[in-house]
Amino acid sequence: MTDAAELRRRTRELLAAHPPAATDRLDFLRARFDAGLAWVHYPQGLGGLGATRSLQAVVDAELAAEGAPDNDPRRIGIGLGMAAPTILQYGTEEQRRRLLRPLWTGEEVWCQLFSEPGAGSDLAALGTRAVRDGEDWVVNGQKVWTSSAHLARWAILIARTDPDVPKHRGITYFVCDMTDPGVEVRPLRQITGEAEFNEVFLTDVRIPDSRRLGEIGDGWRVAQTTLNNERVAIGGTPIPREGGMIGKAAATWRERPELRTHDLHQRLLGLWVEAEVARLTGVRLRQQLAAGQPGPEGAGMKLNFARLNQEISGLEVELLGEEGLLYDDWTMRRPELVDFTGRDAGYRYLRSKGNSIEGGTSEVLLNIVAERVLGLPAEPRTDKDVAWKDLAR
């Protein structure tokens, strides 16, 4: 087993062979991948050394101390957080070798073709069809809420390969080349004025069967790997007191005494308390995880996060009074990075409306808490034994 001392030694070797100051960024990242120091818990030859995941921090600290470039993880979050674990678990050896290295270095950006206009919370009802034709699959359909699609070389895609069986069973998981003919990406403008996301239209796109991940008809199970990793990625990091949205509102309150009213004061204090309690709940959750007793609080963290972001940013717009009537800029833009706490209060207010929809709506999350944490009866299922083609739509 590779221990911390061994990782330190290998990291220093990498730094000696490729001094960051004198090495091209991409060359350095490729060398780091090849040295197994990209994600140490991945297997040897795929950017890792089969080490314990928590030891990554040892490598990261050594590299940061020497000013080594990173792979800009926020820009390639979907690849790192969702596509990579799925490729690792379900990909063939050839797929893993071809795809993981440029994914990690950021040379190839990934996007996710899951949601559809007719399949949001009920993702398994998706209707994009993939029909077998020789060694290829021919794909037709429309996907939506796809971030990075306009930048992406690859997509993880789920499509319906068998409409005659119940919805969960007729789905297959593919890797789609976004440069193929028939893939059309259109920006999807949001209420903020900008377009973080895209609509993706797939018209007779030919995907070779060699780019299938997992078995035919097993795509729903494969997608669970992707989605479970998405939930791990949301709400896992520690934040200081007044981190996040409440810090913005508190700063405005402190800097602008002329805006204060008694009503807003009471509401701000109430939200400050709730934000602090939510933070403490997260601290406790992480302590449980560290002690090897994962608690169910994780399911609730995103519910807190969404509601508080919305209420706090709404309060801040109101606090601003006359300035709250203004908006910084409605120009249609395509931001590469999204910061919920960025820009001005009006933007934050509008953007946070999406927090209770994206990554699982608050209503679905409440069902999950009620059923999995409290053990209350599941929602009645009228679609379980019905072929997908016979579902109401």
Partner: protein, 362 residues
């Protein structure tokens, strides 16, 4: 603001063992039907349960140093006991005597009385109205020619106390034997922690020390650990309501399967999870002395709404049975509502936070 040192929000094995021991005792000796019956009797407090907790288990002396006969434990352990007492709405003076009065006596270094409290031979209460927040205005009695005169109201558990700790207008805190005062029970919203009127008509007390710092310290500890009791109340209410709604059937279905109710219970669970973190943070901060004022104020600004919400949801979701005298949910509702006033309402703690974290009023 800078990052805070991280509080320890999980219970240790020893703390879990303490919890299990207290819960076992309460399961055997504090059933809801018995508590309801007792509230209508002449003796609302459960003396034999108190003896078992305070004396046999030695829990009255958790916060008292070992050299005075106590356990030399911390507010974390006292918080564990209060979570369990809250779960059972136990009618014992733990918070008032073993926490609040004990803290006042510690502030005054009243070693003899602390020894008596630790050995469970004496119950003491601070003669300050239960509604008073840490730092709030404290009514005093008059000191005239060495004797105390005056009337104090809203004194929790006074009818069960042997000693009253009384603030007087000379700035002192006096120990007065209950036999030397007239203690008249007031008809209380929460009969499991009844309040009383204390009348002093020339009683002679012993001056223990300065009332100001002792009362502030006592009320801060009371407010912080009250959150643990409120957590216990809310946790029992949620658990019991979920259990009942899985069992109760209407419209040929388990009532707990209706989404409108599932969502209400899921939201309540989320609130209780928050209270668990906030209450244990307050207990930990009282024990370590780090960030204590903020931790207590956050817990008390949050706890009341959760405990009261849990009780109100429990009553509503139990339907008609929840409205009956026979079902214990009303005990929890009354305790939760009284607790929302005890040691300062949420608004008082929000006002304290406004100063502590520099979010000043207009």
């Amino acid at each position: 603001m800078s990052a805070q040192p991280e509080p320890a929000l999980l219970h240790s094995e020893e703390e879990e063992a303490l919890r299990a021991a207290v819960r076992d005792l309460l399961t055997d000796h504090c059933d809801p039907a018995g508590v309801i019956t007792r509230t209508e009797s002449a003796a609302p407090h459960d003396a034999s349960l108190w003896k078992a907790l305070a004396d046999s288990m030695g829990l009255a002396g958790l916060l008292i140093p070992e050299h005075l006969g106590g356990q030399g434990a911390t507010h974390r352990e006292a918080g564990v006991v209060l979570e369990e007492l809250g779960r059972a709405v136990a009618p014992v003076p733990y918070l008032t005597s073993a926490v609040v009065a004990t803290e006042a006596l510690l502030a005054c270094a009243a070693d003899d009385l602390l020894g008596e409290l630790a050995s469970a031979t004496t119950v003491a209460v601070l003669a300050v109205g239960l509604h008073v927040a840490p730092g709030g205005a404290v009514p005093q009695v008059r000191l005239e020619a060495g004797a105390l005169h005056g009337e104090l109201t809203g004194i929790a558990d006074a009818s069960f106390a042997d000693v009253l700790l009384v603030p007087a207008d000379d700035g002192g805190l006096y120990a007065v034997g209950a036999a030397d005062a007239t203690v008249t029970g007031q008809v209380s919203l929460d009969a499991t922690r009844p309040v009383a009127r204390v009348t002093l008509d020339g009683a002679v007390g012993r001056r223990l020390g300065e009332a100001g710092p002792a009362v502030r310290r006592a009320l801060r500890a009371g407010a912080g650990l009250l959150a643990c009791e409120q957590l216990g109340l809310a946790d029992w209410l949620l658990t019991e309501t979920v259990r009942y709604l899985k069992e109760r059937k209407q419209f040929n279905r388990q009532v707990g399967g209706f989404q409108a109710l599932k969502h209400r219970l899921a939201r309540l669970w989320l609130e209780v999870a928050g209270l668990r973190a906030a209450a244990r943070n307050a207990a930990d901060a009282l024990a370590t002395g780090v960030d204590t004022d903020v931790a207590v104020a956050v817990a008390q600004a949050y706890a009341a709404q959760v405990a009261v919400h849990a009780a109100e949801e429990a009553l509503q979701l139990h339907g008609g049975i929840g409205m009956t005298w026979e079902h214990p949910v009303h005990l929890y509702l009354k305790r939760a509502k009284a607790d929302s006033i005890a040691y300062g309402a949420a608004g008082a703690h929000r006002a304290a936070l406004a100063e502590l974290v520099d979010l000043r009023a207009p």
